[in-house]
Amino acid sequence: MRRSRLLLFGYLLVCLLISLFAEDYISTRLAYYYDILITIGINVILAVSLNLVNGYTGQFSLGHAGFMAVGAYASASWSNHLDPIFLTALGGPANPLATNVALLISMMFGAALAAIAGLAVGIPSLRLRGDYLAIMTLGFGEIIRTAILNTDFLGAARGLSVSGIYTNLFWTFGVAGVATYVVLALVNSTYGRGFLTVRDDEVAAEAMGINPTRYKVQAFVVGAFFAGIAGALYGHFKAFITPEGFNFFRSVDIVVMVILGGMGSTAGVIMAAILLTILPELLRALAHTQVVPPAYQGLLENRLILYSLILIILMLTRPQGLFGGLTAMRSKTSRAKEQ
């Protein structure tokens, strides 16, 4: 444990240094790549946190974008209404320390509300399994979106501008690192083995004195917490959020990352998140070269056609995901030994 914590601090330090010295250069000279980079970081946070629910705990959530929306709107409203007070107290928007602290506070507010939302979904879902839970979380995501659409305070369908573009490389990749650390540390702890047990066999877990409900709710709350942070970072990066940015297809994006990476394989999920963020950009670039006939451009630009095929083909040929082979193989051999 101590080594991994050291690793985390080292990683955070590297993030901080890169952010301090290279942020301005990348964000001004390489704006397009900067955008992709931040998006990668946000997607990694989302995928890693969803992996705790879908991968390690074996529940199927289709509403991760809903939690992201809660975080984004909560932190945006916080910044819009309370930043004038906090920022001036801390030294004004010109002070980099002040903006970072303001981001942290609003982020934590968004994450806390998202975690509460996670609790609210987790509690009624405790009796549901598999398909039902998937529908329920899907419904929850839609309800959140509809609620925002009908709340004038949050801009309704017009969208909401976010005051202060605070998101930077340090926070995005720092949180991605922390999320990875938290999920791994949680799952690899004695206590956290319960998540895997609930996934592998709920009845057996119950027989061993593990409370599946409690683990499921915890997975939801932790997952939602980080999704809320991701939403906050997203809002403070794009400076403008709309309910449509958090629709069902956004949730599907994240689910595809988790499945492609291999459910229950954090390294795989991170790779898949990076891959699936870059891939649509590459395809878009490819679509506009001379190589591709104009008739097929739309096919390449529509990422959801690609994603749906990925889902179907993966499930038919390699259900453990691209990078999830190791864990799956190990469990297969151990099961073979038991028999």
């Binding site: 598999g130 398909d131 529908i135 899907l138 509809t146 749906s308 990925i310 499930m315 259900p319």
Partner: protein
């Protein structure tokens, strides 16, 4: 008195909406009955049904010139009905074939895998159908051709029942009776029921399980396609994403009636349709899409087997 008329009117509107949900819900429940999984792509078969009806209508119009009439007359009645029926039949046939193909390609190889894998595949199929339709047909809503003249039926006093609503309700009744006949009186129907009771014993008795499952998909997809055409009579704007919400609501209807139970699905569909109409009419229109989820939560918390479902114990 006016209040009563209004209420009855709402109930009638709910009946036509509920008929649509019932038709879709039947597909969910039948597939669940034989395969024990939720066919997420079912709502998109409904969407495809509307689109195939859309493409078939111009050809059928050459045979039966239904498009030129503004109102029903005793002379043109039969022509209009057979024209609209033919459009529906073509769409149902094509969707039945597509349903069988989906089962063969995407679901059959996964039959003995964990249920989560099949669920993910079904989501993949659903997304694929939506987006491939969007790619070929565009995301803009299309105007569905008018198959039957839209007019209020006379002689009902203060109540307004449109011909399209009547068509939806009557077609649903006919289809439900037909389905009941197939499931209860034919050999394949009996095999379906046997399969949902006990797959192993069923195959030991010499029933070809693959055929029965394909047949189930034929029935379910055809009913969804019929729903797609019927709903387009009433609200003639079709989009590639139109299957999403009705699909989910019909699923809730199937759960409400007790998933796996055919009469339950029809009942659940009607209840959801009525509830939705009443909520929109008497509470708040924004809650229209939330009500189905609320029903799902309540039913799963208090009576997970649904209204007509039987209790299934989990065996270790």
């Amino acid at each position: 008195m006016e209040q009563v008329t209004l209420f009855v009117q709402q109930l009638l509107n709910g009946l036509s909406l509920g008929s649509i949900y019932a038709l879709i819900a039947l597909g969910y429940t039948m597939v669940y009955g034989v395969l024990r999984f939720i066919n997420f792509a079912h709502g998109d078969i409904y969407m495809l049904g509307a689109f195939f009806g859309f493409f078939a209508a111009p050809y059928v119009a050459k045979l039966f010139p239904f498009a030129q009439y503004d109102s029903f007359t005793p002379q043109n009645f039969l022509g209009i009905i057979s024209g609209a029926g033919l459009v529906m039949l073509i769409s149902m046939t094509i969707c039945a074939v597509i349903g069988v193909l989906i089962e063969k390609i995407a679901y059959r190889p996964l039959r003995n895998r964990p249920r989560l894998n099949v669920l993910i595949t079904a989501i993949g199929v659903s997304l694929f159908l939506q987006n491939i339709t969007q790619y070929f047909c565009g995301a803009q809503p299309r105007a569905f051709p008018q198959l039957i003249p839209v007019q209020a039926i006379e002689g009902l006093g203060d109540l307004t029942v449109l011909t399209t609503q009547a068509a939806i309700i009557l077609s649903t009744i006919v289809l439900l009776i037909l389905l009941r006949f197939i499931v209860m009186k034919t050999k394949l129907g009996m095999a379906m029921r046997a399969l949902s009771l006990n797959p192993e014993a069923c195959s030991l008795m010499g029933v070809n399980i693959d055929t029965v499952i394909s047949f189930t998909f034929v029935l379910g997809s055809a009913l969804a396609a019929a729903a797609g055409v019927l709903v387009s009579l009433d609200s003639p704007s079709i989009t590639p994403l139109m299957g999403n919400l009705p699909g989910i609501k019909a699923f809730v209807a199937a759960v409400l009636g007790g998933i796996g139970n055919i009469s339950g699905a029809a009942l659940g569909g009607l209840i959801i349709g009525e509830l939705e109409t009443l909520v929109v009419g008497y509470l708040r229109p924004e809650l229209r899409d939330a009500i189905a989820f609320a029903v799902l939560i309540v039913i799963l918390l208090f009576k997970p087997t649904g209204l007509l479902g039987r209790v299934e114990r989990e065996k270790v």
